[in-house]
Amino acid sequence: MSMSLTELWAILGCGVITLASRVLPFAFVKQVNMPAWLIDFLTFVPITIMTALCCQSLFVANPGHLATLNVANCLAAIPATIAGVLTKSLLMVVVVGIMAMAVIRYFSIGG
C-alpha cells in the first residue's frame, strides 16, 4: 500500500481534468440558452458516439496503414446482434456476446 508523489499528482490532476469535462457542460447548459443548431447537432451525439465506440472494438488500428477487422470481436458481434434483434434486451445481448466469445476463444478462432 504505497503511492509515489507522481502517482498522487497524476490521480489528482487527471481527476480534476475529467471532472471538469463532465461537470462544466451541465453548468453551461443550465445557465445558457443553446442555439438551435447546437441542439440539432447534439441530437446526433448518442447514435454517433455509440457507433464509434462499437467501431473501436471491431476495427484494429494499423498506424500508417488501413485498419483491419478484429475478427474475433466481429464474429462474436453477430450472435450478440441477433440476440438484440430477437429479444430487444440489453442483458441478452451481453450474455450471448460473452458466451459467443468464450466459444470463439475455446476454439481459438480469429487469432
Partner: protein, 234 residues
C-alpha cells in the same frame, strides 16, 4: 425497460451494463497489478479519476515515466468526448437545480449516458434525477470494486479473457446502439443508419492517421455534421 423513472428502476435498468463494468474493471485491476501499481493507486484512480480508457492510458504512461503534463493532456483528449455527452445529457436536466446537475455530471460515463438516451426513448424525452443518480452510483461502485478485486486477483488469474468477459463491454455497446436505432422515432431508422455507416467509414480511415481516441472524436463530430445536413435534405 419500463417508463418508470424512480431510483429503484434506475438500479434495475443499469444492471445489464454492470457486466461490462465487471469485465473491464477486472481487466484494469489486473493490468494495474502487473504494472506494479499499489491497491491504493488503483482505488485512487477508479474512485477519483473514474474514467475507463483514461485509466489504462495513465497506467501505461506512469509505467513509462512519462511527464505529468503528457499524462494530463492525454487524459483530456481521451475524455473530451465527455464534453459532448454531458452537453447532450444536460438538456434533460435543465429543470433540476444547478447542484443536482453538477451531481449528475460528476458520475456520467459512456455507459450511463447511452443508457439514459435509451431510457428517454421510452419516457417521451424525460429523465429524472433519481433514475440517473441510481444508474450513475451503481456503475461507479461496481467499477471501483471490480478494479480493486482485479488488482487483488491479478497474480492468480492467468488469462481472464479466456471466458470471454472482455467482450461484455463491446456487446453492451452493440446492444445499446441497436436499441437506440430502433427506438429513436425522432430521427428515424434510415437517417440513423446512414449516420452510423458514415461514422464507421470515417473512423475506419482515421485510425490509420491518428490515435484511436482522436479518431473516435473526429468520427463523432463528422457524423453529427453529416446527420444535420442529411436531415435538412429530408
Amino acid at each position: 425497460m419500463s417508463p418508470s423513472l424512480t431510483f429503484r428502476t434506475g438500479v434495475r435498468d443499469v444492471l445489464p451494463t454492470v457486466f461490462g463494468y465487471i469485465g473491464v474493471g477486472l481487466a484494469f485491476g489486473i493490468v494495474a497489478h502487473t504494472s506494479h501499481l499499489s491497491l491504493l493507486v488503483v482505488a485512487g484512480m477508479s474512485f477519483i479519476v473514474y474514467a475507463g480508457s483514461a485509466q489504462f492510458i495513465i497506467t501505461s504512461m506512469l509505467l513509462l515515466h512519462d511527464p505529468l503534463s503528457g499524462i494530463f493532456i492525454s487524459t483530456f483528449l481521451v475524455n473530451s468526448r465527455m464534453i459532448l455527452m454531458s452537453t447532450s445529457l444536460a438538456q434533460y436536466f435543465r429543470h433540476e437545480s444547478l447542484f443536482k446537475n453538477l451531481l449528475i455530471g460528476t458520475l456520467v460515463t459512456d455507459e450511463t449516458f447511452a443508457l439514459a438516451m435509451n431510457k428517454q426513448n421510452k419516457t417521451n424525452g424525460k429523465l429524472s434525477f433519481a433514475w440517473q443518480s441510481a444508474a450513475n452510483l451503481v456503475a461507479y461502485l461496481v467499477w471501483g470494486v471490480a478494479t480493486i478485486v482485479g488488482a487483488i486477483l491479478g497474480g492468480m488469474i492467468a488469462d481472464p479473457t479466456r471466458f470471454g468477459f472482455d467482450f461484455a463491454l463491446t456487446a453492451m455497446f452493440i446492444g445499446l446502439v441497436y436499441l437506440q436505432l430502433i427506438s429513436d422515432r425522432h430521427l428515424g431508422l434510415p437517417l440513423q443508419l446512414m449516420v452510423m455507416i458514415f461514422v464507421a467509414i470515417v473512423y475506419y480511415f482515421m485510425i490509420g492517421l491518428m490515435s484511436q481516441n482522436f479518431a473516435l472524436l473526429v468520427a463523432t463530430v463528422a457524423g453529427c455534421l453529416f446527420g444535420m445536413e442529411m436531415k435538412k435534405c429530408r
